[in-house]
Symmetry: C2
Subunit: 427 residues, 2 copies
Amino acid sequence: VLKPGTAEDVAAIVKIAAEHHVPIVPQGGNTGLVGGQVPDESNEQIVLSLTRLNAIRAVDPVGNSITVEAGAVLQTVQEEAERHDRLFPLSLGSQGSCTIGGNLATNAGGTAVLAYGNARDLTLGLEVVTGTGDIWNGLRTLRKDNTGYDLKDLFIGSEGTLGIITAASLKLFPLPRTQKTAFIGLSSPDAALTLFNNAQKLAGAKLTGFELMPRLGLEFVLKHGDAMRDPLSSAHDWYVLIEISSGGNEEETDQLIMAILEQAFEADTIEDAALAQSQEQSKQFWKIRHLMSEVQKQEGGSIKHDISVPISAVPAFLSKATEAVLKMVPGCRPVPFGHIGDGNIHFNVSQPVDADKNAYLALWSDMNALVHAIVQEFNGSISAEHGIGKLKQPLLSQFKSPVEMQLMKSIKQALDPKGIFNPGKVL
Amino acid sequence: VLKPGTAEDVAAIVKIAAEHHVPIVPQGGNTGLVGGQVPDESNEQIVLSLTRLNAIRAVDPVGNSITVEAGAVLQTVQEEAERHDRLFPLSLGSQGSCTIGGNLATNAGGTAVLAYGNARDLTLGLEVVTGTGDIWNGLRTLRKDNTGYDLKDLFIGSEGTLGIITAASLKLFPLPRTQKTAFIGLSSPDAALTLFNNAQKLAGAKLTGFELMPRLGLEFVLKHGDAMRDPLSSAHDWYVLIEISSGGNEEETDQLIMAILEQAFEADTIEDAALAQSQEQSKQFWKIRHLMSEVQKQEGGSIKHDISVPISAVPAFLSKATEAVLKMVPGCRPVPFGHIGDGNIHFNVSQPVDADKNAYLALWSDMNALVHAIVQEFNGSISAEHGIGKLKQPLLSQFKSPVEMQLMKSIKQALDPKGIFNPGKVL
């Protein structure tokens, strides 16, 4: 494990590694879910930890940008932005330990993608150590720049296989002054989609959260969560958590969320809704959403899929995938939830009650194959926000055309001719 | 000139051209400003016109996407979106004849970048004929997809030098219901920047237009435009045109623009403002902005620069560049205007009154060099939205580091090994 302190250190390491053909596995906060940051078992790979490269290099509140080193922890960057009355919107469960370098290498998503985009959309410029051990200084803070190829977006999301990101210039936004949350009961994913389109029409970019959850997910939270209560008085098949953020005052934000709910009640799109009356209640609503994944552990084995389909295809995907897994494992309990406004569903399937956990989990690959085939029918993605890493590397060539695989291999060969950057990951 | 009717035709042409090393110059509406779409004088280059490939392949109003072929005219795509009660926001002077393929090849900008981003930000997926004459089908309509390298963004903005875009899946947005425009007089670019930051804080993504103009530009418009009137009763050194668009009702939009203006008056940020009382008046305000470039022709020679700097550096850039050109050509008349919210200024400089036009225009390269050197001091871009093409190709290596030039050349070599795609452009 090497812990360089400057981009120059990283460049020197890459030069030596290239000369001696030593593989380098870059690592940030080590929170990735697909093993992209993990070395193989050969004991011949360098783990290059970027955690000492963690300076905030510059903040420009008027130009709405911040330049930070790769090892800076996401939460530190959020806090630095807030000190300047600005928002850095990227927001993840692991934000207390994940790093900006890792966020960009994996093009991280999270709950703020709907209004602000993913890590890629939040990046203005990069500093990268290349396959030749040179430092590319692409740390621009421009909103418009049409001078040559878009190198930045090639490195973002390449999971450390094309170069090592050492610093980034990121976008900042005005800090919202008011937020309002509602917990809504409705009958189907179709109704949720109608609500989403109407809410977006009224609120535009002020619609900063729109999360879908099934009844079973809420039941798991009520059963296993600590002192959790159902926000609504009767049961509904599906739920949506909606959040509005605004630079305007409390009254305007209230009016906006009320307009969305009134329109939805009048059109029979929704069955019931609870409006958070305090910050505390708003946190409780979000806690239901955040516990959704964790409580599934209490219900035995859970087979997981991080998929996306075109937004309009979410209801059809859910219905088809649910039917397929129930046919494969009668009695299994799908708990699909997530960012329906991005078309991104965490299609997690809990084991049948009283089934054998290990026997159920042995079906992981088979169920993945079944669900991913349905994803493919809808021209969807088998990794919406977690990346490919080591875990899904064997799947990539099954879901990409030979033409696309060849394009990617040509680029890998061009930028990392010695093959030292994170071998065995992605491609 | 070849005019293929399908992507398969394009692929067949590329295969033959690659075999015989015949250069291909892709062309859309032929409206580019830097000669990217123009063949050289060898008579040995194929002009590949995409204009017959102009179908609207699919519209998904619920999923907010549209899939069109490269030769579809921008305005046709805007109109198709509107028929489905949706907005395709890309908006350019040449929208009646420019094509989507050209828009993407050059990563087109325009007046809606502030709220919606440039062509790159509006693209979900591409279909591209590659250097091997294969068709890459990357026509996804997903909002989140972390499966491998971002090929899409590599082709966008590469000006036909890496592959030929034959179709694209694009983002649609809810159609704004109300719009409100104001014409504002103020004392300096610094004041304009303060106004911009406060307006963005209040309006967020509803701030859809923010254009800076100098007094001299307005005077040219009043003098040479047809029946144009000064919207304000007295003269101001600088002007800002501001536009608010919203999914809400007229009253809300009125309140929002009034709140922005009141705050600015109270803080002495602005000197005067006229609020458009009708659609007709709003059009008149925009006409002043749109005539800004054209009327400069009536004042003799004009030397032009399409530059961007970090937004916060716009005032300092304007002051330094103005001083420098006045020192170089005493009596010359800078008319800098444009998208200050994107940091993108069209720094056009009219000749001194009564000077010889040709003698003045002979200074074009020298003045470019002077202004571009100042752009570089501010880490800016010498081509914010028009691209590199043939015109600025000789400049690129002066403004990019050897490391960046080498990265771009490696990619060009990897994706176009025969060098048949638009040689002599960009690199």
